[in-house]
């Protein structure tokens, strides 16, 4: 073959390859009113830690939400459309989050991102979702950073902000552990720092030591030792379940027995108990977190008399029976319920804008113990929590739910009665 022929072959090869690659690309783009919406379905997407350091416990959330949607679809869906929920594993690794969310938006053309999990992960995709004007509903994280209606008009939180949680936990400590020294063990990101800020709002002078950890490592002895040395009588954890367990095991080994306080995300007894058992090769269990003070914003999963728990348990047994019925499952279903409410409120022919408008209008009531803070400017989730105590392995509420804001606003009790779910759990507007 001559040089000319070889060059020609090369050109042909590259052009053919180009055409082949181009061929794969031209399939996208359905010509409906809104991306991801057809006459019979709405496709939404999410990134979830199905593997990696945050997987224990949290990997149950998305399947539970999906179970709720499956149940809802069997009842006819929302405004005649079935919800198709596509969630992808990001391993709690921000780089993967960027990839999977771009894939969901650009390739799967999802209508909205729903319940994307994690602070370090989700913060990396908010600029992209804002630029693409994709509704970003009910991020599964209490980072105060979602609450920015002006800068991130598409993004909405769902659970109470960690700052609100920290503040209400701090107020409880101020009233019940006055003058005691407090040590704080926290995740070194917006999650832990937000909680610490809120806590210091109330009991700043009592905090004697605050020790951060990076998710990924497994040795937390330096931090726990430092807190023990500071003489703290109360230990407040702003931790994900794996680090609640690691922290407690380390405390146990050091013979350190402070009053434990853990914010909501790090206390689910089934998850943390399982991890304690796993990490200690069966030697420890929920006993190590018994008596811990925490907070809740959804009814306790062991409260069988609550109609929401009854509904979620029914759906769980039917569609998600493999998972234990714990706080994570309840979380997924409750968030899915709120999404269905928002989608219903977005109208018969929902658009991305009408969905965002519907959430800003707010007024959703459901399984939550407290109301949401949604408005045009405020995009934060639940406005408060109820203090709870881990008693005999179950979360038992203490006192009444309280609401506040992430700043210096007053703390007020919230006593409005929780509404019951509609017949068969069909979403009420």
């Amino acid at each position: 073959m001559t040089r000319t022929a070889r060059t020609a072959a090369l050109c042909v090869a590259s052009v053919t390859m180009a055409a082949a690659v181009a061929g794969c690309g031209s399939s996208g783009g359905s010509s409906s009113s809104a991306p991801g919406v057809t006459k019979t379905s709405v496709t939404i997407g999410s990134h979830q830690p199905l593997t990696g350091p945050a997987a224990p416990g949290y990997s149950e959330i998305a399947p539970a939400a999906k179970a709720f949607f499956t149940y809802l679809n069997a009842q006819g869906g929302v405004n005649g459309r079935k919800i198709n929920y596509v969630y992808k594993d990001d391993g709690y690794n921000p780089t993967n989050t960027v990839n999977v969310v771009r894939q969901l938006v650009l390739q799967r053309h999802v209508f909205a991102i729903f319940n994307g999990l994690g602070t370090p992960t989700h913060t990396k995709v908010v600029p992209f979702l804002t630029a693409e004007k994709v509704p970003d509903l009910f991020v599964a994280s209490g980072c105060p950073c979602w609450d920015d209606g002006a800068g991130q008009p598409e993004t909405f939180g769902w659970q109470p902000s960690y700052q609100i949680e920290g503040k209400l936990l701090g107020a409880y400590l101020k009233a019940n552990f006055a003058g005691k020294k407090i040590g704080v063990f926290y995740q070194d990101d917006d999650f832990g720092q937000g909680g610490l800020t809120g806590l210091k709002e109330e009991v700043g002078s009592q905090v004697v030591s605050a020790q951060p950890y990076q998710p990924g490592g497994t040795n937390v002895a330096p931090q726990i030792t430092a807190i023990q040395k500071s003489g703290a009588e109360v230990l407040v954890d702003f931790t994900i379940p794996a680090y609640t367990a690691l922290g407690q095991l380390t405390s146990f080994k050091l013979g350190y027995k402070p009053q434990l306080v853990v914010s909501n995300v790090g206390i689910d007894p089934t998850t943390v108990g399982g991890l304690l058992k796993e990490f200690s090769k069966g030697k420890a269990g929920t006993a190590l977190i018994e008596g811990a003070i925490s907070d809740i914003y959804l009814p306790s999963t062991t409260d069988a008399s609550n109609p929401w728990i009854a509904l979620f348990k029914k759906i769980h047994d039917q569609y998600d029976a493999k998972a234990p019925f714990d706080g994570n499952v309840e979380y997924g279903m409750a968030a899915a319920y709120t999404f269905a409410q928002a989608l219903k409120a977005a109208g018969k022919n929902p658009t991305r804008q009408s969905l965002v408008d519907a959430v800003e209008k707010g007024g959703f009531t459901g399984p939550g113990l407290v109301p949401f803070r949604f408005s045009g400017k405020q995009h934060g989730g639940y406005s408060g929590v109820q203090i709870a105590k881990l008693t005999n392995g179950a979360i038992v509420p203490v006192g009444v739910p309280q609401v506040t804001d992430p700043g210096t606003g007053p703390i007020k009790p919230y006593t409005t009665k929780q509404p019951a779910p509609g017949d068969n759990g069909v979403v009420k507007g």
Partner: protein
């Protein structure tokens, strides 16, 4: 005698080839959907890293299990300069290349004293250890959270609606073309001959007057510079530099890429880059169609890498490029043996 199609001067020929590639890539990026443009961009930055690694391993015979870490050096350099110091993308990419090349000098000096498994071990330590620095100094490097930069904004003369993904693909492809021109020139010239001479027989190379250690360090520096540029381009495309992106698995997959594509040739690096982007997609689809459990699904891509690598070594030890070359030779041989079939 027939005049060759492309001019004989190496630089001119490679520039013309690069212009040809640029034209093809231009058309391709216009046709592709945004998401496929992103995939193209990933192929381009992988190509940059693989081209550098293939020069080191293929031409110079030094192994590196630490190229993922060198990519991290480039990525963090670019991310810090862009997000903290407000640098423009182009100087930040240049700085990423230079800083990583400097890191390459350090690694190269060590590498020139080590052989075979010891070199592999030393570079492996780099791959494992370096991402940990981010956790050690969270205030400088953002810890596990990493650093985020704003997306590169397409220049206004391209129009307000110019898709971001196409711009990202252009940036990464431009890095790929620059790498191609530089490395193709190096490989064909005196330096390329020195690299090969040292690879084939160090004693013979020394007897011919080559400074073996210096040649090996040079190979590491060029290779590291490429990894740095690749890391910078990675930041431009994904807007994030976080330790999770530069784990040991990245270093191993880079090595897989050059072996799979065909060691020592830039075409091989290109095939390797395509494979690195498409293999996980295929294995993901496979896992989904088999509806495997999540634990299996998450680990399948690694298993697929391993199986494909073993299969490639057994079936096509010279990689995809080797197989393509052999096929071309076969066709040529047949064409020669049957001269009547076509007027070649």
């Amino acid at each position: 005698m027939r005049r060759p199609v492309l001019p004989r001067q190496t630089l001119v020929r490679h520039l013309l080839l690069a212009a040809g590639f640029a034209a093809v890539l231009y058309v391709v990026t216009l046709l592709l959907s945004p998401f496929d443009n992103l995939r193209l961009a990933s192929m381009a930055y992988y190509f940059v890293a693989l081209a550098g690694l293939t020069l080191l391993t293929g031409l110079n015979g030094q192994i590196s299990l630490g190229h993922g870490a060198l990519m991290a050096v480039g990525a963090y350099t670019a991310a810090i300069l862009i997000s903290r110091d407000g640098w423009a993308l182009l100087p930040a990419l240049a700085a990423a290349t230079v800083v990583t090349a400097a890191a390459g000098v350090l690694v190269g000096v060590v590498a020139a004293r080590l052989r075979g498994p010891y070199l592999a071990g030393a570079t492996l330590a780099l791959a494992v250890g370096l991402p940990g620095l981010s956790d050690k100094y969270p205030h400088a490097f953002g810890g596990e959270n990493g650093l985020t930069v704003n997306p590169p904004i397409p220049p206004s003369w391209l129009g307000a609606d110019f898709p971001l993904e196409r711009w990202e693909a252009w940036i990464a492809c431009a890095a790929g073309l620059v790498t191609f021109v530089v490395l193709a020139g190096l490989a064909r010239g005196r330096i390329g001959r020195s690299l090969r001479a040292v690879r084939d027989d160090e004693v013979a190379a020394q007897l011919s007057g080559l400074d073996v250690a210096r040649t090996q360090i040079l190979a590491f520096v060029v290779s590291a510079a490429c990894a740095g540029l690749a890391g910078g381009a990675f930041v431009a495309v994904t807007q994030i530099a976080a330790p999770g992106a530069f784990q040991l698995a990245l270093s191993l997959s880079l090595l897989t890429g050059i072996v799979l594509g065909g060691l020592g040739s830039l075409w091989g690096a290109l095939w390797g880059a395509v494979a690195l982007v498409l293999l996980p997609v295929w294995s993901d689809n496979l896992a989904h169609s088999l509806s495997l459990s999540t634990d299996v699904q998450a680990n399948l891509p690694l298993a697929v890498y391993g199986i494909v690598l073993i299969a490639a070594i057994l079936a096509a030890p010279a990689g995809i490029q080797g197989a393509v070359h052999r096929l071309a030779c076969l066709v040529k041989a047949r064409a020669v043996s049957n001269p009547n079939e076509e007027g070649a």
